[in-house]
């Protein structure tokens, strides 16, 4: 029983960066933009989020507030991703360039920018960029009081995660409501399904695409910051967050473009990623475990296409640019 609780707990913790990465990309793809630059945006978010918290603490000295550090890291990570997504939007929406090529370029660009900033800070600050242990607690500990956390099983399963897990769940609920119940969400989905229809209905397509892509990019980038500040231990290292962004892109398909699904899917992927530590089978190498998320994605894709329910399909105009006078 305890092993299972521990597995779930760790799965959710490991899945938290993916929750952001995936939800951001869900929002982006709902507007019909396929942004493959998630990896790049998460790198930028990770390096800049860490840098923002680090320099805040340096400037504020001993009086640094944990809550402010978390907020600053969130905002800067979001802005970093939004900046990357804004470049992508301008190239694909205004200039109508190919989305796949632009997304891949953003991945390479963002990874480079993230690595550069991270390494630059590391070298400048004497080989080690990390925030103090007091501040780390704010990033890594549960926001709930000990009374709740110490309830057996339930406490660990529900109340002992770091604050980012709860923020992710709140964002997912808001996004689900926005997409399915609000007028703006309806319009956004229409843009992603059939831009010509949305255009004929008088919806400002460019505005929707820009906003969804930029906000989505920002949310994705928060995932990078969450990875660095929780899983990687608030320290910049060479490997950064190898592959998290690509996993998030796969997870978008896995969760069938549903924000709430992103939460469950990220937890499941988190579990698959740490299985090799928690559930060891003799003679099975770690690498086999590490491909499990991708194997599961393929299986889900097959299962979904066999059921072929229209609502589970990707937005119909995903990856296509729109020009009103095109014939």
């Amino acid at each position: 029983m305890n092993a299972l609780v521990l597995l779930i707990y760790n799965a959710v913790l490991n899945g938290a960066p993916l929750m952001y990465g995936t939800m951001g990309e869900v929002l982006t793809e709902k507007s019909g933009n396929l942004n493959l630059g998630v990896e790049g945006m998460m790198y930028m978010g990770g390096a800049i989020g860490l840098g923002a918290a680090f320099y805040y603490e340096k400037a504020a000295g001993a009086g640094a507030s944990g809550a402010a550090a978390v907020l600053i890291a969130l905002v800067f990570a979001f802005l970093a991703g939004a900046f990357g997504a804004a470049i992508y939007s301008w190239i694909t929406i205004s200039l109508r360039a190919n989305q796949n090529v632009t997304g891949l370029a953003l991945s390479i660009f963002g990874t480079g920018v993230g690595q550069f900033i991270g390494e630059y800070m590391r070298v400048r600050e004497g080989g080690y960029v990390a925030i103090s242990n007091e501040l780390k607690l704010f990033f890594q500990n549960s926001p709930f009081p000990a009374a709740l956390r110490s309830i057996p099983i339930v406490g660990q399963l529900l109340f002992s995660y770091n604050i980012f897990v709860y923020i992710a769940i709140i964002i997912a609920v808001i996004m689900a409501y926005f997409l399915n119940k609000s007028r703006t969400g309806l319009h956004l989905r229409a843009v992603g399904e059939s831009p010509a229809t949305a255009d004929a209905a008088g919806i400002d397509i460019e505005k929707y695409k820009y906003l969804a892509t930029i906000i989505g990019g920002g949310i994705s980038a928060i995932g990078g910051m969450v990875y660095i500040m929780t899983i990687a231990g608030c320290v910049w290292n060479h490997d950064g967050l190898a592959g998290e962004g690509w996993l998030a892109v796969a997870l978008v398909i896995f969760c069938l473009w549903k924000p709430i699904g992103a939460i469950w899917g990220a937890a499941l992927f988190g579990a698959l990623m740490i299985m090799y530590v928690r559930v060891q089978i003799p003679f099975v190498p770690d690498q086999i475990y590490k491909i499990l998320p991708y194997v599961v994605t393929v299986i889900v894709l097959i299962a979904v296409s066999l059921r072929s329910k229209r609502e589970n399909e990707p937005p119909a105009s995903l990856g296509l640019s729109y020009f009103r006078e095109d014939r």
Binding site: A190, E193, T197, A200, I203
Partner: protein
Amino acid sequence: MGSPHAIEFKNISKRFGRKVANNNISFSMERGEILSLLGENGSGKTTLMNMLAGIYYPDEGEIFINGEPVQIRSPKDAYAYNIGMVHQHFKLVDVFTAAENISLGESGKLDRDAIAKRINEIKAKYGFIIDPNKKIYEMSVSEKQTVEIVKVLYRGADVLILDEPTAVLTPQEIEHLFTVLRAMKADGKSIIIITHKLNEVMEISDEVAVLNHGEFTGKVRTCDTNPQKLTEMMVGHKVELSIRRPEPVNPQPRLTVENLTVRNHEGVNKVHHVSFTAYGGEILGIAGIAGSGQKELLEAIAGLQQISIIEGSIMYTPEGKKPSELVGKSPMQIRQSGVALAFVPEDRLGMGLVGSMGMRGNMMLRTWQHGHSLFVNRREPNELAEHIKKELDVSTPDIMYPVRRLSGGNVQKVLVGREIASAPSVLMSAYAVRGLDINTSYTIYNLMTQQKERGVAVIYVGEDLDVLLELCDRILVLCDGHVSGIVDARTADKNEIGILMTSIGGVGAGKEGSTNA
């Protein structure tokens, strides 16, 4: 005139690259009238209306609404001037419900009850039949069209533009549409219908405006004209509106289908125990309500439904040769043996043509495997493309121009022209004239007849019963995948076929060979 015109075009021109779509067009229409906009394919009807609906912006000229000059820069502007357009290719989001589609683009809170209430008011006022909570992808073509019209009315349009609304409807659905249109006219709405079906023009409209190759050729009151005169205005010269039907000469069995049963992708049997013989030198028509198995039958013969032929045989007898079995052969083998399928699907570019290639490239799709050279032969397709362009009067800047950018009718000419050019001994065509104007339709009918005279067995799946009765020698009627009867087209009448279409066997007769022409 006392009151200003509801809509007035003044010297409107629009060009796409080198192609002049509209040249200096000026005319007007009044409130509370139905205007038919008539013209051949590619004559610029849709382009002109798209400028009114804000999809395109005119290069030159002005548009007046109720006497005021207006700038319509986007569909949103068009709605602001109470203009709404129902496009030929419906602009609907498939995964949304009817109500969601109808209210799309409105601002304010999403109040589903209020939307449903307003839709019900519109339904009651004009006599529409729709379910606001049904998803679009579950709807038939006519239901989708209804959603489009309600959408335009919901947005408060006083001017409705309908782009070929009847092209995809059954006769009953057309009747219902016209009833609705008359109710809207009585309510003071102005309606513009783009069409090229002359009988519908005569039936529904008050006035007719005619375009020819992007030029405006005149506007007449419907009561002062007749189909013959309109055709001349539309084409620019006299056209014979009758189909030549020579007697079949020495008919030989060419294709014998025996007890054929075909299952579609979803595992439903669409063709049940169908047997018939197609003879060289005759045109066999196939009639039936849309979706009665016509498509599956033709695809099975062409080899496209290989896996799903449950039972039966298709024997093919080339001239002077022994019969051979087609079931089990690949589509390429079947085509090389001389069975050609010119299938014109609802989505013309979906099957048969590659949209982004020019005419030459599309010709090459049929000839690339000829010869043994390492390189493809470009001269042959070049000549063929030029030939088709001239012979069928395809309106395109040159043969390298992407076919995707041609108008629907021209795309169809390219497709049918190519299939006929391969000199088949069995030619199957489905909906070959769907969406084509009258002049081109008659060109296609004549091509079919020419093939018949060459001794080709022509199988023609059509929608228009009048044409089937005039063009074909025999008509096979399908009902729900069963052969309901095979009648002699020279003696049968519309009612007889109508009954066979709706009830299997009709009067109980209808076995193969009962009427050999």
